[in-house]
């Protein structure tokens, strides 16, 4: 376990380290002059000012020096400042990060509740109309674009019925985006749960449990669900990663003030310091959370021992 932990930790650190290199190179891959592109949209800047900015960003130095400078600054918590407004990038991201995490966590709950329930019943009622209805719903769910689903839910529940606010960032506002993002992933989780439950339901120990005369409810909850859920927990890390990616789109549908919304704005404005900071924070969160979830999985299932 300890060995597995350190191996996992090392590969996480490796990924984040590669991200820092990628993020430094990013600005050099931009076709044309990044400084000019960054400032093209804002005020008319004189060539001297552009030179000054280039120097401030360190873009006039060799790449390896830039990388060392960038690493040095990041380790001190300095992610640079935004192109417009000169605000510290890290502060902007950290203010919005909890909103994104709140959205992804709430969506994950929706995904698990809806996805696991649907997958479980489809497997239990295998080859009946319940199964085919649920699995038809699942493949429809996989095919619907999340941004469209979000807009349609907004139209029905906010505009027509007036039950929920259209957009914003409060707890009442969380409901629609969380359902949108959650349902989008629930579809694939239900398919995975179904196939894993079908495996479990045909095991010998299920027959044994029934032969012992246990009640059907006990057989299902103690024997089937527990074993079937191990696989579901195993996918949690991957699901969270998908959620983080999906959140970028859904945040923009509902004007939810998370890092995804900031990212899209900064790509529009060609605000490279913010884009760099976003990529770094996003990758770090994904790496850390999936590591924690993977460790949780090893801890939950005693059959798994990593050597």
């Amino acid at each position: 376990m300890t060995r597995y932990f350190f191996k996992r930790l090392l590969s996480g650190i490796f990924t984040i380290w590669i991200t820092t290199i990628a993020v430094t190179l990013l600005i050099h891959l931009v076709p044309g002059d990044p400084v000019q592109i960054m400032y093209a949209q804002s005020q008319s800047t004189t060539p001297e000012q552009l030179e000054q900015i280039r120097r401030n960003l360190g873009l006039d130095r060799p790449i390896y020096e830039q990388y060392i400078m960038y690493m040095g600054r990041i380790l001190q918590g300095d992610f640079g400042t935004t192109i417009r407004g000169n605000q510290p990038v890290l502060d902007l991201l950290l203010v919005r990060l909890p909103n994104t995490l709140l959205l992804t966590t709430a969506s994950l709950v929706v995904t698990i509740v809806v996805g696991v329930t649907a997958g479980f019943f489809a497997a239990y009622k295998r080859d009946t109309w319940i199964d085919s209805t649920l699995m038809t719903a699942a493949i429809l769910g996989i095919s619907v674009p999340s941004f469209w689903l979000g807009l349609m839910l907004m139209y029905i529940f906010s505009m027509q019925l007036g039950w929920l606010p259209v957009s914003g960032t409060s707890l009442r506002n969380l409901i629609l985006p969380a359902i949108t993002l959650g349902l989008a992933n629930a579809a694939s989780v239900s398919r995975l749960t179904r196939s894993s439950m079908i495996d479990v339901l045909t095991q010998d120990y299920m027959r044994t449990a029934r032969a012992k005369g246990l009640k059907e409810g006990t057989v299902l909850s103690r024997h089937a669900l527990r074993n079937g859920l191990v696989n579901v927990v195993n996918m949690l890390g991957l699901q969270f990663t998908y959620m983080m990616g999906g959140a970028i789109v859904v945040e923009n549908v509902f004007a939810w003030n998370g890092i995804g919304r900031l990212a899209i704005q900064s790509i529009f404005q060609r605000d490279y310091p913010t884009i760099q900071g976003f990529i770094l924070i996003f990758a770090t969160v994904v790496v850390v959370v999936s590591m924690v979830l993977d460790l949780l999985y090893v801890w939950i299932d005693p059959r798994i021992t990593y050597k």
């Binding site: 076709p31 674009p145 469209w148 983080m244 990616g245 990212a263 060609r270 990529i279 994904v286």
Partner: protein, 302 residues
Amino acid sequence: MANLKPAMVADQSLEAITPPSRAQRLGQFLQALLRSPGAKVGAVILLLLFAVAIFAPAIAPFEPSQMNVGPALSPPSAEHWFGTDNFGRDLFSRVVYGSRLTLMIGLVAVGISMTVGVVVGLVAGYTEGWLGNILMRAMDVLFSFTETLIALATVAVLGPSLRNAVIAVGISSIPYYARITYGAVLVEKNKEYFRAAKTLGARHGRLIFRHLFPNILSPIIVVATVGVSVAVLSASALSFLGLGAQPPSPEWGAILAAGRDYFRRAPWITTFPGLAIAVSVLGFNLLGDGLRAALDPQQRQS
């Protein structure tokens, strides 16, 4: 089997066990594929989609970007099936022409990710050793970044446009295809036929293209079919965010994004392109599921 020398098939008793011809095998495969109702529906949807894309000028009553063909923001009617947008453009015509873009986006993006991914996976799996290790480590790192982040970073570098969105979506799925290919190559390499060919002194090129490639093709085809649906969804999301196709392009995500400003007054502008995306993606998903079942020997037996 056509290239077997006459001497080898001269023995009449061999005829009984002659494997089915290519055409026969294709027939069997199609039968297995179309046995599932889902695959049938998927195939019909995709045939319709291709037909609409090819015959767009004949199907669409108006030019996709022609303004004021009707009153602006008018709801669906007999004359304008999907209604009109804020410029008085016929939405039905725009959605019909948009199918061309959607198919192009899906196929080109999958083409990029599949070509690069399969080459990386083949090279890594065939050579193993340090080169394979480095390649697959790189794919692991890319994989953990998630497709969305890779696509966003690519657009951030190249700038927003439909072309760049397609490239971004293509790049973002490379690790996926590389992993599938790599896994399949490792399995095939240890099979007897491959070892035999190797022992007989077959060259690298022959080993790879004649022996490995045909045998890893079926999982890749399945992944690519579903991959088109993923690519269409990602690219339309980029366009919806304003990072892909730009107005006045009739790309479905872009129409949807432009319609958001009139969402309250004219919800049909966002409804129909979204439905079109969902139905097309459903077609690829259903066919992909059917292919998986038909190509999976375990499921075929049952």
